[in-house]
């Protein structure tokens, strides 16, 4: 059941990303360009966060999710160097290409070799075992 639920989630999520044009790197770069600003994605983010704020409020009133014993939420609360440096790097990559992980995955269906290489490199970076030098 959990797998079916996740499958449905992925299906709806993709349609949201496609309809909102969040999958188009040019629209993302336009949103991030202060000198030639395209506000479209501000409406996407605004609509998503307001809807989720409302729905999460009711979901977290429950003791547990429908199909599991507990909610799986990050326990980390600290604003550390890893969070700050990671966010700076991610933002720079996002602003450079206009691609972030979700829209990149949806764009696989375009079968563009550049998207496939992007996902391969990103996945290797995400899955690489943690190295000794901690930030």
């Amino acid at each position: 059941m959990k797998n079916l639920s996740a499958f449905i989630t992925g299906s709806i999520f993709a349609i949201g990303l496609i309809i909102s044009t969040m999958v188009n790197p040019k629209k993302v770069k336009g949103f991030l360009n202060a000198l030639d600003w395209d506000p479209t994605l501000a409406f996407v983010m605004g609509s998503a966060v307001i809807t989720n704020l409302t729905l999460f409020y009711f979901i977290f009133k429950r003791k547990k999710p429908m199909l599991d014993k507990e909610f799986h939420l990050p326990s980390k609360m600290l604003i550390d160097k890893r969070l700050i440096i990671g966010s700076v790097l991610f933002g720079a990559g996002w602003g450079l290409s206009g691609l972030c992980p979700g829209p990149a995955l949806v764009n696989i269906v375009k079968l563009d070799p550049k998207i496939i290489v992007f996902i391969l490199i990103m996945t290797i970076c995400l899955k690489f075992k943690r190295t000794r030098h901690h930030l």
Partner: protein, 130 residues
């Protein structure tokens, strides 16, 4: 603009549905980081995403009519930055942005403000040079 609001609404409904049923955060970088082969929710999520993207491409190809107009160096550098960055900060636009802000997570608020600012600096600079 209407499509943007509907799209954002669907993204949130999807994320809330996952939280309500399985108690998990619909964050792409975390899902890609931890996904394994076999029957599990993370792979099911990705398969759902790819299935509905393929169906949409087949019935409404005009929604995919934009081009991926990016050079190889941009693709490679950006993929490294996105992969390493989201690994360090434990989240991207979906996990920290759509879900984290709605959970009122302080870490997510910091992350979103920083990656928006950093993204704006890079995109504006490149836009000005072109």
């Amino acid at each position: 603009m209407v499509n943007a609001i509907i799209g954002g609404y669907l993204i949130a409904v999807a994320a809330s549905f996952l939280m309500f049923t399985t108690g998990n955060i619909a964050g792409f970088s975390g899902i890609i980081k931890r996904v394994k082969l076999g029957l599990n929710w993370r792979l099911s999520f990705i398969l759902g995403l790819l299935t509905s993207s393929t169906v949409t491409l087949l019935i409404k190809p005009e929604l995919f009519s934009y081009s991926i107009d990016l050079s190889w160096p941009v693709i490679i550098i950006s993929a490294l930055l996105v992969g390493i960055g989201t690994r360090l900060s434990n989240g991207c636009t979906s996990g920290h942005g759509v879900c984290g802000l709605a959970r009122l997570s302080k870490r997510s608020l910091y992350s979103v403000l920083i990656f928006m600012l950093s993204g704006a600096v890079v995109a504006t600079t490149i836009g000005a040079i072109k």
